[in-house]
């Protein structure tokens, strides 16, 4: 294993991480197919060499960054986070990355910026899943600026102290641990600062089921299933469900972001 020598972080959970095998073989990355095993099977086709991330919109220094530019001057940290999928399964993942706020501060966020929009690569020749319009491609996501600046929000470039496997969103992805997993957009090619709420893929596809915020919330059920409990991936055939925690257990760090908001309305 490469060994990224990421520093430990106070934000890591003490829970036992899900096995490397499970984290890298059970993925939702519809660009490579809708089956959970499809990304592990197909994502090798993605070329991450020469990856570039375009940063634009309401920033002082827009531009196109190589991965070397992105990583220059950052200190990689290990963040062991709970990961809760909207499909009511969960994992614990030892991510390697840095705070999104670091990056946003480097490009200089203009005072008029209120939101951050993200976009995944769209390469039909490398991504067999995008030949079917399961959702509108490319995959897009977004955060409110204060959510993006929260120290829990990271850009991850690895896991288990290794470079990010393609099926997990190489070479760079977002991780927002208090939101359902689909907010943590993978294989990012563009980050745009905007003054209005950006469109997000699942919200465009099924607005009744997936809101812009998509905070983990055991009290607000998905129209098709309850979100009150979750099944831990890797627990085997007879694993018991466990209760889902408000904000996936990160309420102390993030609940104040939503003071006075009706979270059943802004789901």
């Amino acid at each position: 294993r490469a060994g990224l020598a990421a520093k430990p972080s106070q934000y890591s959970t003490v829970e036992e991480p899900t096995s490397y095998e499970a984290v890298t073989s059970y993925n939702n990355f519809y660009e490579f197919g809708t089956g959970k095993e499809d990304p592990a099977r197909n994502a090798h086709m993605l070329t991450t060499d020469g990856w570039q991330v375009q940063i634009d919109g309401l920033v002082d220094k827009p531009g196109t960054w190589t991965m070397d530019d992105v990583l220059a001057g950052t200190t990689l940290e290990e963040r062991i986070y709970r990961f809760r999928c909207v499909e009511a399964w969960s994992m614990v993942v030892p991510w390697v990355g840095f705070e999104l706020a670091d990056m946003l501060n480097r490009v200089g966020v203009q005072p008029s910026a209120k939101y951050v929009a993200f976009e995944t690569a769209l390469r039909p020749e490398e991504m067999p899943g995008v030949r079917t319009r399961v959702i509108d491609w490319p995959y897009v996501e977004g955060l409110r600026l204060d959510e993006a600046m929260n120290p829990l929000t990271i850009l991850a470039t690895g896991l288990y102290d290794e470079p990010m496997p393609n099926q997990n969103g190489a070479p760079i992805r977002l991780v927002v641990p208090w939101k359902y997993g689909f907010k943590s957009i993978k294989s990012i090619v563009r980050i745009t600062l905007t003054d209005s709420e950006p469109p997000t893929s699942w919200n465009k596809s099924q607005p009744r089921e997936y809101g812009f915020y998509s905070n983990v919330n055991p009290e607000v059920s998905h129209p098709r299933w309850s979100q009150a409990s979750e099944r831990e991936v890797g627990g085997g055939l007879l694993a018991r469900r466990k209760p889902t925690l408000m904000f996936n257990g990160y309420g102390q760090e993030v609940a104040s972001l939503y003071d006075g908001m009706d979270l059943a309305k802004y789901y």
């Binding site: 073989s25 399964w89 399961v134 596809s205």
Partner: protein
């Protein structure tokens, strides 16, 4: 078709029951051994549902195959239909016992979530069909009443496919293939006269 039909006549229908049990035994064994990936519960649940749907679609294909291709499989239809029912019952049991686990939540799910409501309705409608899939019930009901009851299949199978369409995220093509196949098989038997007429009209 005749050599195939006469070969099939020598196969007793009962062999389908032990044959049909094998994939289910294999499935649970693979789940216990860890061969179904890291989420064996979902893998077993989904595969039982999918295989059950395949079997139910197969029962709908038997009459059109005989009418349009001369293939005589009607002797096997009861076994295929019953196996379909058993697979769906196992699919439901895995969902109840291994997946949802919480009995209080199950009722809420059945009532509140349309895809589960539809799946449950289809399952409940299958129960009288499974109970009457034997010679004794056929004699008791008489041919006409038995046939009328078993037309419920035309409702149950498409409901199963609709349940599949509704459960997946986004617009996935696989469940629509099944729904289209089912509607095609139903169309073949509901309007045979009109279809034949339009086909001969197209030929002239």
């Amino acid at each position: 078709m005749d050599p195939i039909n006469s070969a099939l006549r020598r196969v007793p229908a009962w062999v389908l029951y032990p044959l049909g049990a094998l994939p289910v035994i294999w499935l649970f064994w693979a789940g216990i051994r860890g061969d179904l990936g890291v989420d064996p519960v979902k893998a077993i649940e989904h595969r039982l549902g999918l295989w059950g749907l395949w079997l139910l679609i197969a029962t709908l294909a038997i009459t059109p195959l005989q009418r349009h291709a001369g293939l005589r499989l009607v002797r096997f239809r009861r076994a295929i239909g019953l196996l379909g029912f058993y697979y769906i019952a196992a699919h439901l049991a895995v969902w109840l016992v291994l997946d949802v686990q919480i009995p209080a939540q199950i009722w809420g799910d059945i009532l509140k979530r349309p895809y589960i409501t539809i799946g449950m309705v289809a399952f409940v409608l299958m129960i009288p069909l499974a109970l009457t899939s034997n010679n004794w019930a056929l004699r008791r009901l008489g041919g006409e009443r038995w046939r009328r009851l078993h037309r419920l299949t035309y409702l149950v199978v498409p409901l199963g496919a609709v349940h599949f369409v509704m459960v997946v995220k986004g617009w996935q093509v696989e469940p629509f293939y099944y729904l289209a196949a089912i509607l095609g098989l139903l169309a073949l038997r509901l309007r045979p006269g009109r279809l034949l007429r339009s086909r001969s009209a197209a030929r002239t």
